[in-house]
Subunit: 156 residues, 2 copies
């Protein structure tokens, strides 16, 4: 028999806890390496951060407005660590606001995210978190390769 594993409040806390850790990973990079360093031809951690920002609040906004909007990583605007962290903190507030406007019925409905990814809303939201953990793990390798101690994974 299936029962509740996670409530909406617990999910939001879990997500924002991960975002808090990602914020500390952004902070741990020196300015230059944040934008330029990578391993194996992969994207810099700044590029990955722009992806996280382009997914989270814009994705939620689509879901609550029931529209599909093309993906936009704002590559022209986010050119310094300070700009990324400011956008991160603005996103934190927006996520809390938008997430709490999603009804339990809406969570189970399909939505065509960014006009490309058609899934039930709760699955897309899980994907947002998984994608951030996945690429942040990549950022941990970059920091280690730079000789920088990353924040503890279990600290949120």
């Amino acid at each position: 028999m299936s029962t509740t594993f996670l409530t909406t409040n617990e999910f939001l806390t879990h997500w924002q806890g991960h975002r808090n850790l990602t914020r500390r990973v952004i902070e741990a990079f020196p300015e230059k390496e944040l934008f330029e360093f990578s391993v194996g031809g992969m994207r810099s951690f700044a590029e990955l951060t722009k992806e996280f920002l382009a997914i989270a609040a814009p994705g939620l906004k689509e879901i609550i407005n029931n529209v599909s909007v093309p993906f936009d990583e704002k590559k022209e605007e986010l050119k310094t660590k300070t700009a990324l962290l400011k956008a991160w903190d603005e996103s934190t507030v927006l996520i809390n606001d938008y997430f709490n406007r999603i009804s339990s019925e809406r969570l189970k409905e399909n939505h065509n995210l960014f006009g490309q990814y058609e899934f039930p809303v709760f699955q897309s939201l899980l994907y947002f978190v998984d994608n951030e953990i996945h690429h942040r793990g990549q950022g941990y390798v970059y920091l280690r390769a730079l000789g920088i101690e990353p924040p503890y994974f279990w600290e949120r």
Copy 2:
């Protein structure tokens, strides 16, 4: 108002989907590099795999038996890719069995996992998945650094 975000069945499907992807990452490594390659002085992907195996089924077994058992990565036994994949598949079956024996009340109870980590059961289970995504992200960098195309992250 808080409502159900994820049911127990949905969580199990989500977890096993991630484990299926991790299995394909193990398979993508050449035998030697699986055990020897790393970046920035970090652990090999075989070492990380042994950690995943030592957490998942043994952790669930503790939780359903309500005992704490020291962490054991079975480093003596798992010395080939074939042995790791066999242990992986055995773990897949055990996880389905054990997980379905956890009651909704038990999910909210505290458990001192491996005698070290005292958290509500559902939080420990979320951590199992997060930890695997995090370190698998590290494995993706290893594969890219080796010039090997990793499996698509969204394929489960």
